[in-house]
Symmetry: C2
Subunit: 232 residues, 2 copies
Amino acid sequence: MINDRVIVPLDVPTLEEAIALLDLLPRVSFWKVGLELFVSAGPSILEILKEREKRIFLDLKFHDIPNTVAGACRSATKYGVDLLTLHATAGRKALSQAVEAISTGDKPPKLLAISLLTSINSRELAFDLKIPLELPEYALQMALLAQETGIDGAVCSPQEVSQLRQVCGSDFLLVCPGVRPTWAEAGDQRRVMTPVSAIKAGADYLVIGRPITTASNPVEAWEKVCQELAEV
Amino acid sequence: MINDRVIVPLDVPTLEEAIALLDLLPRVSFWKVGLELFVSAGPSILEILKEREKRIFLDLKFHDIPNTVAGACRSATKYGVDLLTLHATAGRKALSQAVEAISTGDKPPKLLAISLLTSINSRELAFDLKIPLELPEYALQMALLAQETGIDGAVCSPQEVSQLRQVCGSDFLLVCPGVRPTWAEAGDQRRVMTPVSAIKAGADYLVIGRPITTASNPVEAWEKVCQELAEV
């Protein structure tokens, strides 16, 4: 069934609200835990997800010196998470130490590089971050840097999927946030596409949050998304 | 006493090892919690530090879209941390939303921007991260970007302290990792200086880890560092 390619983020501030969302959407098999919830609740949310036999995308976007990234990856691997993010801009050494660090686990997570935050536009990339490349080119360069060091895949905006799929090949995992069904509004993701077009463009997983979790009827919204994807 | 300007990182993988270090060094008043320990233990370590009336530097280096950075800052503020890091490269909107997010707390943390990881060298900056600036210039630009958005200070390598102090003024908090007494070896920090020279160059706080925590006698190493700084 297509629904295990749709990851729902637990973008809520407390453990109680997260549990309420899990109870509300029992058929969702893959959940994302981000910084807000993890800083608030810590690994207890990971233990609850494991108890409920859910798959876990731990999206803390590690960006630190090599030693610390490796240590954080080891800590995350102990909780049996399935997907784990780190910034490509942490550098080659941090990326390769992360690959090494997770290999110690019996069921290591897949490592996903953050090439570029989907909330950064081309003006900010050039003027604030001093990077003289266009967004797609820069996202591609960071994804290639990650792939060269053995990272399993990348998180990218839907607009970058087809290019990355073409250049990085079929084994490279592509996970897309910023995906919105036609019936939902844009929020702070700048570069947005529909679920169907993102899967067609080559995405392996879609992260769909507010269109489901803040819908008047989240269960219905979830069913609607799965229905749309079932027809791909 | 000078020792509350020296922050000791709890760079250990488990809560038990962290508690053992706290017990070993009861006079240390300011502790840093990084990604490895936080991913492993979560906020329970923050609660223990608060119970022992210690000051807390929560160094998770947030680097995510604005909404998530703001949420993570709110979560951290609830635990009463004193210093909190986020990457300047998260962009202007994320930085200003972080400033807004912490203002909700009754004793908000000071926000510190990560300008550039101390483990990145100039070759990597240019060839891997595609940034055509020299290290000091880039670190300065990112610190200024952060200061413009209301961020309280920056983490920077000791080599960058005097320049940042001069350009960003006396109110801008400067916290330096990569500081090593003459009697300790370099580890994976590339740009290294002694405690005394870093304070003289204008640092407000020093993060001194391995020279203390992995010394044959950590208490003695701590006393030695404090002694050196008392003579500044």
